[in-house]
Subunit: 447 residues, 2 copies
Amino acid sequence: MRKIVVIGAGAAGMAAATRARRFDSQAQITVLEGSGEYSRGTCSLPYYIAGEIDSARSLVGISPQTLAEMRIDLRLGSRVTSIEPAARRVHLGHQSIDFDRLIVSTGSRSRTVPLISQGTDWPRLWTLRSQAEAEVIKTALDRFRPHSVAVVGGGYLGLEMAEVLTQRGCRVTVFHRQATLMRLLPAAHQAIFSLLLERGVTVRLESEVKLIDPSSRRATVEFQDLSSGQRRSEGFDAIFLAPGVVPEAELLSRAGARLGPSGGVVIDSRGQTSLSGIYAAGDGVELPNPYGGKTRYVPLATTAARWGRVCGENAVGGSLRGPAPWGGLAVRLFDSQVASVGHPEDWSRAEEISVELGGNSPFPARGRSVALFLSEARGGRLLGAQFVGPQAAAWADLASLALQKDMTVSDFSELDLNYTPPLSHLWHPFLLAARLAEKFGRREVRR
Amino acid sequence: MRKIVVIGAGAAGMAAATRARRFDSQAQITVLEGSGEYSRGTCSLPYYIAGEIDSARSLVGISPQTLAEMRIDLRLGSRVTSIEPAARRVHLGHQSIDFDRLIVSTGSRSRTVPLISQGTDWPRLWTLRSQAEAEVIKTALDRFRPHSVAVVGGGYLGLEMAEVLTQRGCRVTVFHRQATLMRLLPAAHQAIFSLLLERGVTVRLESEVKLIDPSSRRATVEFQDLSSGQRRSEGFDAIFLAPGVVPEAELLSRAGARLGPSGGVVIDSRGQTSLSGIYAAGDGVELPNPYGGKTRYVPLATTAARWGRVCGENAVGGSLRGPAPWGGLAVRLFDSQVASVGHPEDWSRAEEISVELGGNSPFPARGRSVALFLSEARGGRLLGAQFVGPQAAAWADLASLALQKDMTVSDFSELDLNYTPPLSHLWHPFLLAARLAEKFGRREVRR
């Protein structure tokens, strides 16, 4: 009887455990989770705070009954302190557990922010990594009704929360170090920047937060305008920190596993780390690169769940290869959406084709949109895409499939896409991109 | 200087004319249109009646100024009576025009319905093939305020108008000869059938209309229940006819062009008919089959416009191949959508994989949905798909790309699709389909 131990009960860990059970009805499967939460829908937390999701129960993906039926021994509050690869044993303080195969999914941790330490228990300094933290924010919003909130970080979580907080009546200022939000290209950035402005959100770009001082009634954010070098400060009733994440790979690193440039654990195409019999998945790992270049750090729930499944199956004797991570990301932002697929680091020498669709249609689905396509050469192999507009997420899925199939932008001319007035444009942006590519002299009609 | 003549100023004809100009600045380009309308957005007409599109001008795709700038000589009210292929000449009654290349886009006509002839000028017997007819319906709805309306035909136009008429306050009954609406598979049909029922639309399936008698104040619809054989009749204040279309190929047929089984003109992969120098596109032609089998009759605006472009370019010396028609079709239906891709006639021996997604999410985009995938074998090569739900149209576009790329349903397990709670499901229906395929014993992870 195999002993499978999983560390971490997030998306990757739970996918691993359930998948292992599906392929091995005999294995002894133990999941060790340091916190008191498991299988929580982290991506849903902003909408739980917003009240769009009203039941905390619906945040949990797997019920305790299902776990019992699957004979998965989930131990909450069980923090692993070290791994002994040679002995095939994990330690939890003085206790230890043996394993035949280990799956590590310790996830990520927040980047640090410069904070005056005595303020860390200030009740309106928020992060959002757990349901417990979501409850803190919900309670604080109800009780203190903060008027002004600083959001530190203009990535997707920062922007989602900027929307939620705006809709809860707060006046939001987003501080972002880069010149564009969410690593967007200028045209896509400009579209959501305008959208945020229209909704009353202040966005401070190229603004590095130097110090947060929550030691008085209002917290002070000291920041530097990176273009002018000027240092300023501003006071807020509450602070939401979304500085981005880095891999949490401490346990495996100490055990001798190889790490990649981002600090994530390196795994092979079957999810195994450099330590035999030890697999890893989730926000703590670096993934193989579909383009064959550098490894990828893609801290997303879908990627975590899918590679978790791969590890779970392979830990019980499978030999499944993990899916290539194309880095798809979509966010709803007020009445629009923003989505990106591909990895901006591959785009340094890419050609950009930009399609703008006017918002003069009476149909919401045909509202103002921007579609940007990045390719090897004008009309050549697709490397990525970014979209803003009411259909951005769906377009990104289409681009993701195109990426996976090694399509060129010129190939899009062959696509047969729907047209129906309330739902879509007669000339889909993918078709328009192919036309633009063609105008610039490349012409390939391929079969 | 080439003389290009285009017959018909619909989607295909106007695309042909403008494309020809783009590639040949010298050619003399003449478009002959029998009616007084051109470049009208036929697909938008239901929404013009509904009032969602409020300006008739926005129904027209190309402005007269643009036509003038492009030196396209559009002659409305110019009905071609015959084509002389050998002499390269078209006749309009006594007048004739010479051509070097001819592009015929005469479109389709309605199937006939059994009608007592003296009633044809009854003011509430409607069809919808032109803006003029849309105006008739608009006016009649405002003036007569019909209470009950029969819609004859449960294809996409019938259902679009069932929605429009319901929202204009009419009580609608749809008569449909087949057992499922819109050629849908049972599970997809059942989903929109329920939806229509909830919205107060009566649907009479397997009901063949035997006679429409509009000779008194109310029109009588006599119909036969095909399952029981019983004949019944029912009175209505107005009748909307949407019996489907057949190719209008009279002119080319008389000129000796080869027709296909549907009665449409057969064209080659470059849009040329069996008559040298004569091209055809639009709802009057049959298209090459991407699967290599029988030709296709695909009377859709996107297909017409894209093959029109091909004809226009090739008529001035190009050698463009037309895009394969995957038969994508999407309709908004109240707060849901229905979409189909592929050709039901290819599905007789297909395996069906069905995914149902519950509607218990607070997010509209994750409302109740059905996704059906048809493949050569369980999990094998995709042959088509049908979707009902708030994202049906976008999913159909994804399926269309998958069809074009010869993907199997099992291949979907490789897709990296977006997950963000307000916009999409954690496990996209394409991924769930791949999982189901796998459960049934097929297992291919391909790279």
